[in-house]
């Protein structure tokens, strides 16, 4: 079966190289049949890659340990779903997943946009083929998942931390995000190469960009939730280079999604958008380079193989190609309109972009700092969470404020008087919230207080926008308030879906501020009957229990919890010992308080054994995380907003089709 997998990958490699070279030649010489065959080669490469993926999945299913990759990442005792998710448990499988998603998403995007962007598409296919060629090359010549060996009696197993439902979804979503960013990049490059840099490529890729951005955002949040529940250290984001590798392209894509609206509406920021879309794509590759090269110290452990050098070469190639392309097409990209006022919607988008790009560069600087300091001073120096936390406040707080102001400002220009009148309501609401919070004692953290106050401002502005729109539709004759509201959202999905996403970011900001600035932590040794008081909770250690599962042993401390004297149940925190992997993992206990969005988080830190190997005492680490559940709630709201924005809109399609129709040729007298 390994031969079939290898053959399928070799075929996929040949097809994507043909899509790149043949497609490029066809586009340059305007030979339609060559262009069409290159497009078909791209479609066929998805089929060939899918065959390779099925071969590998089947090897996992039957635990064929003659596949070295299967033996390294699974075992006989590995439970059902994880035997399949082990597919992306290592480097080679991850690369195969990347190629599979890339050829699949790329083919679909090309197929869906055949009519809209014929000229652009001619050049998009070779660009997509070029990117896919890189990954296929790695899979065929550098990191094949089909290496063979004499089958051992059992496999090494999948790391216990990856045996978690979140890890079944988190990696594919990140890959969908990374790969999805190839689509706008390929269409932008296609537009530049073809010389058709009007808004067609933006229209063609808008939904793909939002899809990639949503997948990346949800992927990051699921990774955070996994870290929170599974890694058992009480946090959800550690500013590690691997985490930042996903955050950077997401921030760049967020900036692009905003600035592209200015290009659509005002035909401005064309160079900026071309640069941003290239930057977002390069950042998605750069993160992979950083983690695979082994050059950066990370809390993530990766195979240190020569694959990093390949990624570095590819980034250099993409960056050079894109820079040359943008410079070559500068005359075409020059803006036809100018910014009329610094107090306008387009200016607000510009400020938003500056802050997002500055924050992206800050994170990039922090991630690359060890490399730079090593090169300059001969010593790798890392910047830790204080660096990132500082800049999160510097750029994040103004962004929160802008999220409230931006939607209230008119396009072209707004007088300061009108602006003041518009923001008065949200500003009063924010001030009231700030004063109430100070009275309640939230002034202990200035950054936390500012985050809450600015969040209140942004949320009030969003509510105001919805209220104004609904009222206007009711005045225009909607039969009820509900039909006015639903009609408003349905007719302006992009705008109001965007506001829902803003609300999600506000929830996220409140959750991060609450859980990081106002939390509490205690560590204590417990013997049976001992208690601890923390923030109104009383925890009493009852005893420890053991359980034998299929591939691990469980040891748990049973803890009775009361809140303000009232019993709220018993929780179990402890450890699992996995046989095949010979590793122990923390299994935390979390008691959610949905009403206050707060968690009581208990880590079974260390068990002390007495006579007869019975547990004598246990060290428990107890954390109270205020408002942390707003982060996860924000994830659902984020998804809802994205879905509203992504949902097909027949009216919009008709509008766009009318705009894209070639108009009558202007005749100069």
């Amino acid at each position: 079966m390994q031969d079939l997998g290898r053959a399928a990958l070799a075929l996929a490699f040949g097809l994507v190289v043909y899509a790149a070279v043949g497609g490029g030649l066809g586009a340059y010489t305007r030979r339609r049949r060559l262009v069409a065959s290159a497009r078909n080669a791209l479609f066929a490469s998805f089929g060939a890659t899918a065959v390779a993926a099925i071969v590998l999945l089947n090897a996992f299913r039957i635990r064929d340990f003659s596949f070295a990759y299967v033996a390294e990442h699974s075992s006989k005792a590995l439970p059902f779903p994880y035997v399949y998710t082990a597919f992306w448990g290592g480097q080679e499988g991850s690369l195969l997943l990347w190629l599979l998603v890339l050829t699949g998403v790329g083919s679909t995007a090309v197929a869906f946009n055949r009519r809209l962007t014929t000229e652009v598409l001619t050049w998009t296919v070779p660009v997509l083929g070029g990117v896919a060629s890189f990954f296929a090359l790695l899979l065929v010549f550098v990191a094949s998942p089909f290496a063979t060996q004499v089958a051992p009696a059992d496999g090494a197993g999948l790391n216990p931390s990856l045996q978690n439902p979140y890890m079944m979804i988190h990696p594919p979503l990140l890959y969908l995000g990374y790969v999805g960013l190839t689509i706008p990049f390929a269409f932008a490059a296609g537009a530049l190469l073809s010389g058709r840099f009007d808004e067609r490529w933006i229209v063609a890729t808008r939904r793909w960009t939002i899809l990639a951005w949503t997948a990346l955002g949800i992927g990051i949040l699921l990774g955070a939730k996994w870290a929170y529940e599974e890694v058992g250290w009480g946090g959800y984001y550690a500013w590690d280079p691997v985490e930042n590798a996903a955050l950077m392209p997401w921030l760049a894509a967020t900036a692009y999604l905003h600035s592209v609206m200015v290009q659509e509406k005002k035909n401005m920021l064309r160079v900026w958008n071309a640069t941003l879309v290239t930057g977002a794509f390069c950042l998605s590759i750069f993160g992979t380079f950083l983690t695979r090269s082994g050059l950066i110290n990370s809390i993530h452990s990766f195979a240190q193989s020569p694959i990093g050098a390949w990624f570095l070469g590819f980034i250099a190639l993409v960056a050079t190609f894109s820079t040359v392309l943008i410079i070559w097409r500068l005359p075409l990209l020059r803006a036809r309109t100018k910014l009329e006022s610094l107090a306008s919607r387009e200016a607000a988008f510009l400020y938003n972009n500056l802050l997002l790009v500055a924050f992206t560069l800050t994170v990039l600087w922090g991630v690359a700092f060890p490399l730079l300091s090593d090169a300059v001073r001969g010593e790798a120096v890392t910047v830790g969470p204080p660096y990132y936390d500082f800049f999160l406040k510097v750029f994040g707080l103004p962004l929160l404020l802008l999220m409230g102001i931006g939607p209230l400002v008119a396009w072209r220009r707004t007088s300061l008087g009108a602006l003041g009148e518009t923001v008065l309501g949200p500003a009063v609401a924010a001030l009231a919230v700030g004063l109430i919070l100070i009275a309640l004692g939230a002034g202990s953290s200035t950054a936390g207080l500012l985050a809450y106050t600015f969040s209140a401002f942004a949320l009030a502005a969003i509510v105001l926008e919805f209220a104004r729109g609904t009222r206007a539709r009711k005045a225009l004759g909607a039969s009820s308030w509900w039909s006015a509201f639903s009609g408003l959202v349905a007719r302006n999905r992009r705008r109001y879906g965007g506001y829902v996403v803003h609300a999600a970011i506000v929830l996220l900001a409140i959750g991060v501020a609450g859980s990081s600035a106002y939390g509490a932590t205690k560590i204590q040794r417990f013997r049976p009957g001992d208690s601890m008081n923390i923030r109104g909770y009383k925890l009493t250690y009852l005893n420890s229990v053991e359980r034998h599962a299929a591939n691990h042993d469980e040891l748990r401390a049973r803890i009775a919890v009361t809140e303000n004297g009232k019993s709220i149940g018993t929780i179990m925190a402890g450890k699992n010992s996995y046989f095949a992997e010979q590793q122990t993992s923390n299994e935390v206990a979390i008691k959610h308080d949905w009403l206050r969005a707060q968690d009581l988080f208990v880590i079974g830190d260390e068990f002390k054994f007495g006579k007869g190997n019975t547990v004598k005492s246990v060290y428990l680490k107890v954390l109270v995380k205020p408002l942390v559940n707003l982060i996860w709630l924000g994830g659902f709201v984020f998804l809802l907003g994205s879905l509203i924005t992504l949902w097909p809109d027949a009216r919009e399609q008709r509008r766009l089709a009318a705009r894209m129709e070639p108009g009558p040729v202007a005749v100069t007298p």
């Binding site: 790798a380 120096v381 010979q582």
Partner: protein, 125 residues
């Protein structure tokens, strides 16, 4: 407008440089074999050598040694003493990221993070 953009980005970059250079938030990130000649707060990435002895909650702390994860200097061993919560998946043979204070002979660790095993694979030659 382009000038504004360029100046803003440049100014932001300058702030990053200044902050990271002077704010003191940065710590040297070293391998065990590079510790010689260093003192004070630093971070070390290494491979945990057994036996892992002691108790992280007792006065003597948790004790083990670190060596380079890879490279030619794997014979250099650095003693580590740690007080606090033992991290998830910690044991001899794991790769860890340790932050602490080095006195020239041993490392007093204030935090240990077992490297996240996502996509973990043994180093390949």
């Amino acid at each position: 407008m382009r000038l504004v953009i360029a100046l803003s980005v440049a100014a932001a970059l300058a702030v990053f440089l200044l902050y990271t250079s002077f704010a003191g938030g940065a710590t040297p990130s070293l391998k065990p074999s590079q510790l010689s000649g260093h003192r004070g707060k630093l971070s070390v990435s290494g491979y945990v050598l057994g036996p892992v002895a002691g108790d992280p909650h007792a006065s003597g702390g948790l004790r083990f040694k670190l060596r380079d994860i890879d490279g030619p200097h794997q014979s250099v061993r650095v003693p580590v003493v740690f007080h606090g919560s033992e991290p998830d998946l910690f044991r001899a043979g794991r790769h860890v990221y340790v932050v602490g204070t080095y006195n020239g002979a041993s490392l007093a660790a204030t935090s240990i993070t077992t490297k996240c095993p996502s996509k973990y694979a043994p180093a390949k030659s």
